[in-house]
Amino acid sequence: MAKVVAVVASTHHPFYYRASTATGADRPPFADEWTSKILAFRETLTRANPDVLVMVGSDHFHQLWLDNMPQFLVGKAPFYDANWYNEEREFGLPRMLLRGQEDLSSYILREGLDAGFDLAFSNELRIDHSITCPIITLRPEADLPIVPIYTNIFAPPLPRPKRFVQLGQTIRELVESWPSDLRVAVIGTGHLSLELGGPRQFGPHGPDPEFDRRAVDWIASGDLDGCLSEVTLDSLHAPGNATHGFMDFMLMMGVAGAGAKADYVDSLDLFHTMEAYFTWYPNGAPAA
């Protein structure tokens, strides 16, 4: 059976690419520290030596639209073009092309349906920065085949937090029952407190540093019970109007498992939002 060699969760900050590649007067003062943290985070994935990446993210009204909106969608395609015109325009993100791992996509779809998740699928999916940001930060060679999984954290009505956790638990079970010798990393990105298009946006820190502190504690300690006891669809409005993206972190806590302490934890307090980086090694940490 396939082995989950790493579970990786992070924020997906679309400005990282531009900040880290800027030079001279264009380079922001926080770029060096940010890049240094990303290189250390990247090493946690490199050390796990994965063959396949399951990538959990959320489309930002690019291909998925309100006339036909899935709650959870699995890509099944041989290739995925990536990044969109408005992401080039606003963030300077490059166009990319990623290979797909269709066998694992098929397996997750079939077994996921049988496990009680009515997963939507796409045979022609152009992915966006929720998936390409972690490719850029964690695997900039973009050389490994992926299985993209999209969640709806964006267009209400949304699934409840518990459902995200359950899907994460199911993804873990499905990957570990996939008849394959391949080494799989499950990578997912979400948000801590975040405000977009509201009065608390683009402040000197994230809109709710106290929520961020508690969220990092929940994730780092694998405290699913504590997190689920406090986080609801309603409560997530308080830390910022885009904070429902935190449910993708909860999904990743489900992948990692209840009580699983992260093997690697880091964060970076930036303007607008806090960055956070977590890696678990379910089968033990690889040799340095």
């Binding site: 309100l66 006339d67 298009g197 683009f202 109007n241």
Partner: protein, 120 residues
Amino acid sequence: MSRYLIDKFLYTVDRDPDLVERYRDDPVGTVTWWEAERANAVLNCHTGEASTWLRFDDAERAALSTHDYVKLFELGAHPFLTLTLFIAMFERDHAEPLAFQKQYAARLAHFDLPYPDIAT
């Protein structure tokens, strides 16, 4: 009340570089044209198929026609769509990085939780 149609306008304009410029330069004309010619296009469908019933109400048409993003927030337009399109149109007019985004936040400062509902 057609939050969906406001969002559809923001979504379709934001994804077309020519439309972004056209809406920046001529908001009244662009909204009028779009409501007449594009509002009923079924997006994820064969081209040429259309709905028959979608139109703005007066407040929605006025907010879009005046670039009034504060009113759009009040009406429950999806804040991500509004922000993304308005950055594309107006960030260029500000010399300092993030100046437009901060001004945008300041103009919304009178809103308290709960914010206007964005469900469609």
